[in-house]
């Protein structure tokens, strides 16, 4: 029988965990083993969507929201007067299984406030995921937050049971982080990040020699940045992102539009709305880095330090670089076609395979799913009269393609690109 106290705890600790944006369950595929429960699917599966439109794939929860630290941007900071609760490791593991059996979730996303010290907290978290894997025979997805400052050995242990480990950077520059979170510094965050990477690479080598060596954090690591709490430009943020993606283990960088949860703190800016459009543009730019092979300096540089809020970064790049165009749909390489605004990964692939059978005209492009409204300015193809960009000024294109002011919210989406 479930106790009322468990329901209360669940509510409090879910509330405390909700500002963490990461919720993906992608990156590992695991079949059910030894008749246990659960499996993991490479592309991840969302199970529900909350009223704010965000996908829920994992039971995103804190082990406890008691915390020693006093970070200005965090709802769970020591000096806040909020309801506090703590799960016992056993209780949380059982709850996860019950939710999983009903197909509510893909697995667990476990974070925690810091109690006593980093290692003590890590140990308790570790007990939850160890219980899930060994006692409950659970093969579903587990994402665990590594606590800044945790020891190398504990990070290693955690990686043996979790599919993904992450450490949140939160504030992009060291100075601002020190100002808002006096107990943290970049060293305490980058060190566990580096540990995760080293273990991952060592593990890869080990697995190439011993096939049965256990996998270490197979889905790599991720991190999160808060956008709008401090004065960093998009250029600074994306430069940092690009640098992080150069590391072989970094799979995702999430951006979380600043929500003033502690309005009284004088170190934080006064804002009225969550910077949704900026957040959305950052995700789009992130997409360009990961899937469209853009270099970060093409998107933001000293001349263009902030992303254009009126149009997506790909279109904005194309308008700034007319000399790349026109692109001939029937001749250009996949990489070139991918750079056309209005053509995504899926359409680009379809174009490349379809044109082997005959020349493509506008009608065919439309059928394939190209957004001609944007693409028409940048391409030439069969039966197309002339290249439009030559006859139109950048201002004209900019005006005619300006998006309506209502923003589409950025959702940290599950990856599902090009799947049949």
């Amino acid at each position: 029988m479930i106790k009322d106290s468990t329901i209360k705890k669940l509510e409090i600790l879910a509330e405390s965990a909700k500002y963490d944006v990461s919720c993906a369950s992608s990156g590992t595929t695991r079949k059910n083993q030894q008749g246990g429960i659960g499996s993991a699917h490479g592309w991840g599966i969302c199970h529900t969507f909350t009223a704010d439109g965000r996908c829920v794939s994992l039971l995103k929860i804190m082990l406890t929201n008691f915390c020693l630290y006093d970070c200005a941007y965090c709802i769970n900071r020591r000096s806040n007067d909020i309801r506090r609760a703590a799960f016992s490791p056993k209780e949380l593991a059982e709850l996860t299984i019950e939710f999983y059996r009903r197909n509510y979730i893909e697995g667990l996303f476990l974070s925690s406030g810091i109690i006593k010290n980093a290692d003590h907290t890590m140990e308790r978290m570790l007990r939850v995921i160890k219980d899930l894997r060994t006692v409950h025979n659970f093969n579903g997805y587990i994402h665990m937050k590594a606590i800044p400052g945790a020891s190398r050995e504990l990070v290693y242990q955690a990686g043996l049971y979790a599919d993904r480990l992450s450490v949140n950077l939160e504030i992009p520059t060291e100075d601002n982080l020190k100002r808002l979170a006096p107990e943290k510094d970049h060293q305490s965050i980058f060190l566990p990040m580096r540990h995760i990477q080293q273990h991952l690479l060592e593990n890869k080598e080990e697995r190439s020699k011993f096939r049965h060596a256990p996998k270490f954090s197979a889905a790599g690591q991720s991190t999160q940045l808060i956008v709008g709490a401090t004065d960093e430009t998009d250029q600074q943020i994306l430069q940092l992102t690009a640098k992080l993606y150069k590391r072989p283990s970094m799979k995702r960088v999430y951006y979380s539009g600043f929500i003033p949860v502690n309005g009284y703190d004088k170190r934080l800016p006064v804002v009225k709305d969550v910077p949704r459009i900026r957040e959305n543009r950052l995700y789009q730019a992130d997409w360009l880095l990961r899937f469209y092979k853009f270099d970060v300096n093409e998107i933001v540089n000293d001349q263009h330090q902030t992303l254009d809020l009126d149009m997506d970064p790909k279109l904005s790049w194309a308008i700034r670089n007319p000399h790349y165009f026109p692109i001939d749909i029937n001749r250009a390489s996949y990489a070139q076609i991918l750079r056309v605004p209005g053509i995504g990964v899926r359409s680009a692939k379809l174009i490349v395979s379809a044109r082997q059978h005959g020349r493509l005209n506008l009608a065919a492009l439309k059928r394939i799913g190209v957004v001609l409204k944007r693409a028409q300015f940048f391409i030439i193809c069969h039966e197309m009269q002339s290249f439009k960009l030559q006859n139109s000024s950048p201002e004209y294109i900019r005006l005619s393609l300006k998006e309506p002011s209502l923003p589409i919210m950025a959702v940290p989406q599950q990856l599902s690109i090009g799947l049949e």
């Binding site: 479930i2 704010d52 019950e98 197909n103 709305d273 379809a354």
Partner: protein, 261 residues
């Protein structure tokens, strides 16, 4: 205009392809026996389904098409859409008329049509992985996890392996309330089941409370509360929510039930 009539089976469609090549006649419609004949029809031809025709065409099909295309065809068939027969027919005729593989020529309307309908069915299948909710029920002292679903297409057969692998250590039932059949997994095999018509087990597509496990409502409540608690009030956007999670599924999703059960 020529119209073919067939027996509403997949074997029938493939037999139609065989007959068409034999007669060198290309119909505009392929209808079942109950479909109404369109205007201006000059000729009607009744397709005889035989194993021999079916085997010939299906062998040719598996030889000529990559597995992705074969999967698309089976998705299209299970879509149960009225146009499925003519779509598959046109597609196969096109494939057999040329020597090279054209299954990637998405500039061609017939090939794109197959791909697009298959994609819709595949999408519905994915929805089923997302929005199935199991309820623990008591069945003569046995704990069984029961889920009722109402998918647009007949896709239960396509998710069985997924659920069988995932929930290997619990007994479960996946029931299609629209088509009134389901599958039961008994820890070893999956078998097809029907519910007794006079059974009071399901009322309006919902499981009768009397059959639910004592804790079940509390777990639904917890899930509901959890989803409420993780919502960020400053960012509420119901339109986006409905786009990602169509309302037609909400009936079976405890997190969307506004009154706490």
């Amino acid at each position: 205009m020529i119209v073919f009539r067939y027996d509403d089976t997949f074997e029938g469609v493939l037999s139609a392809v065989f007959d068409a090549f034999n007669l060198k006649k290309w119909p505009q419609h392929i209808l079942t026996s109950s479909d109404i004949l369109p205007l201006f029809c000059t000729e009607e031809f009744y397709v005889q389904t035989t194993d021999e025709k079916f085997n010939r065409v299906s062998q040719a099909m598996t030889k000529r098409l990559p597995s992705i295309a074969l999967n698309q065809i089976s998705y299209v068939w299970f879509s149960q859409q009225p146009e499925r027969a003519i779509l598959i027919f046109n597609y196969l005729v096109k494939v057999f008329k040329v020597k090279h593989d054209i299954s990637h020529n998405f500039a061609d309307p017939d090939i794109l049509a197959i791909r697009n309908l298959a994609k819709k069915v595949a999408h519905e299948r994915h929805y089923l992985m997302m929005f199935v909710r199991f309820n623990a029920i008591n069945n003569q002292g046995e704990k069984i996890y029961f889920a009722s679903v109402e998918p647009r297409y007949n896709i239960l057969p396509f998710v069985l392996d997924f659920f069988k692998d995932r929930f290997a250590d619990q007994k479960w039932v996946l029931f299609d309330s629209v088509r009134q059949y389901g599958y039961f997994y008994d820890l070893k095999h999956v078998q097809i089941i029907h519910l007794d018509e006079h059974d009071d087990f399901m009322i309006n597509g919902q499981i009768n409370d009397n059959y639910l496990n004592e804790d079940e409502r509390r777990f639904q409540k917890m899930w509901h509360r959890y989803c409420q608690a993780t919502t960020i009030k400053e960012r509420v956007n119901p339109k986006l929510q409905k786009k990602s999670m169509p309302v037609r599924f909400w009936k079976n999703l405890p997190e969307t039930w506004h009154e706490d059960p």
